[in-house]
Amino acid sequence: MDFLRPASWEEALAAKAEHPTAVPIAGGTDVMVEINFDHRRPEYLLDLTRVGDLYEWEAGEDSVRLGASVPYTKIMENLRTELPGLALASHTVASPQIRNRGGVGGNLGTASPAGDAHPALLAAGAEVEAESVRGTRLIPIDAFYTGVKRNALAADELIRAVHIKKADGPQQFSKVGTRNAMVIAVCAFGIALHPETRTVRTGIGSAAPTPVRAKAAEEFLNAALDEGGFWDNGKIITPSVAKQFADLCAGACNPIDDVRGTASYRRHAVGVMARRTLTWTWESYRGARRHTEGAA
């Protein structure tokens, strides 16, 4: 095993180009467990913790460019307004120690369906900035996850950052685990209201081979909100609409039975979380509307 220690992003890209099998390591949450438990013996470890750029973020007009290694703790502390869904998801990641070191780049690199960041990224809308010595490309988050623990990265590419749409409305994230802290998701659900486009986006974790959006549910809800004039009148979403949304979210799952939970439970739980998080976000939207109106 060789340990590569690039001091800059350019060096990191060069190293990855020279050694495409090199395994990038930053927070070490996944890679070190595999090494400690003898599940993996990469030829090269590519340490990215010296690449300062990866630890920075910048909030632009429409989106936040979040460096791949910005620790979850920093997201929770600094980006709660811009990225509320991801901040909530970050808070559910493993333990405080791991949140201090792990970042979204690791979740994306591993591309486990159980990664906590995925549902939030899917719901908010995001692009993964992948770079190699050949150049940079932005991969839409919907096209990023290609299979169980597989992603759209080429062998010579590294994740530089994620461009995440800044919240234009309420967002929520919910995750079921069989413990009240430090737990891997049995399944998870993210939702983001986008009042500007009058759309709702979702993300489901751990209930299909890859993180997925519940597109049929989104389409149904978008249409229902539109038809009912809900975005304008700010009425309470009718229970039947919420229920159908929840059912469609559950239907978007393609889960398996495993040691963490049954497929049947996952479908059920995603439905419950979908209904609840829709309620929370919609109530928040209504509250904000009332507040705005009251001020005006």
Partner: protein
């Protein structure tokens, strides 16, 4: 490979490190600092919590090569670290100790199994006084995590304490005495100010 870094204020060099070794292994097996504990080696128990450049992390999830040039504080250095912080020194671990001091902190009289005469940090003393130590295997990690929390939140609520320590498993105590210890340390810290 060779790794140079600072542990508890003292420069350390580890040679012939296998690239797959963790910081935890290097501390325990190469530097004679076994205080950080090897309970799970998968980031699921917090027993190996150390501060890396001031930040609490699981030493088992840090590759040895990643600490090149970094500052690490382990439970063995916690008392000195807390003392410097209390004296208005730098609390981030980046200010360092002289080599002389670093050698001495370990030598302060342990005259029996009980180790009377050892200087302790407030959180260490509170763990003893409150009965938060049983087998003690989770203790080092909990101390590092709790000390850091009290540094950030001098007056934590019970829920704050629980959240901050939710990455540290204990199998002996049922956590009640650990809660007591952290409350005690916070109260004493408050009185001292």
């Amino acid at each position: 490979m060779r790794v140079n870094f600072t542990v508890n204020g003292r420069p350390q060099e580890a040679d012939d490190v296998w690239e797959g070794e963790s910081l935890l292994y290097v501390l325990r097996e190469r530097l004679g600092l076994p205080g950080s504990k090897n309970a799970c080696e998968q980031g699921e128990c917090g027993s190996c919590t150390v501060r890396l450049d001031g930040v609490p992390v699981c030493a088992c999830l840090v590759a040895a090569g990643q600490v090149e040039g970094r500052e690490v504080v382990t439970v063995e250095g916690l008392a000195e670290y807390a003392k410097q912080r209390a004296e208005g020194g730098c609390g981030t671990g980046a200010c360092g100790t002289t080599l002389q001091d670093a050698r001495q902190w370990r030598a302060t009289g342990t005259d029996s199994q009980a180790g009377q005469g050892t200087e302790l940090s407030p959180i260490q003393q509170a763990f003893i006084d409150a009965g938060a130590v049983q087998c003690g295997f989770c203790t080092p990690g909990l101390l590092v995590a709790a000390d850091e929390m009290l540094e950030r939140h001098p007056n934590p609520s019970d829920a704050d304490i629980r959240e901050a320590l939710s990455g540290n498993l204990c199998r002996c105590t049922g956590y009640e005495k650990i809660m007591d210890a952290v409350r005690l340390a916070a109260a004493r810290q408050g009185e001292a100010v």
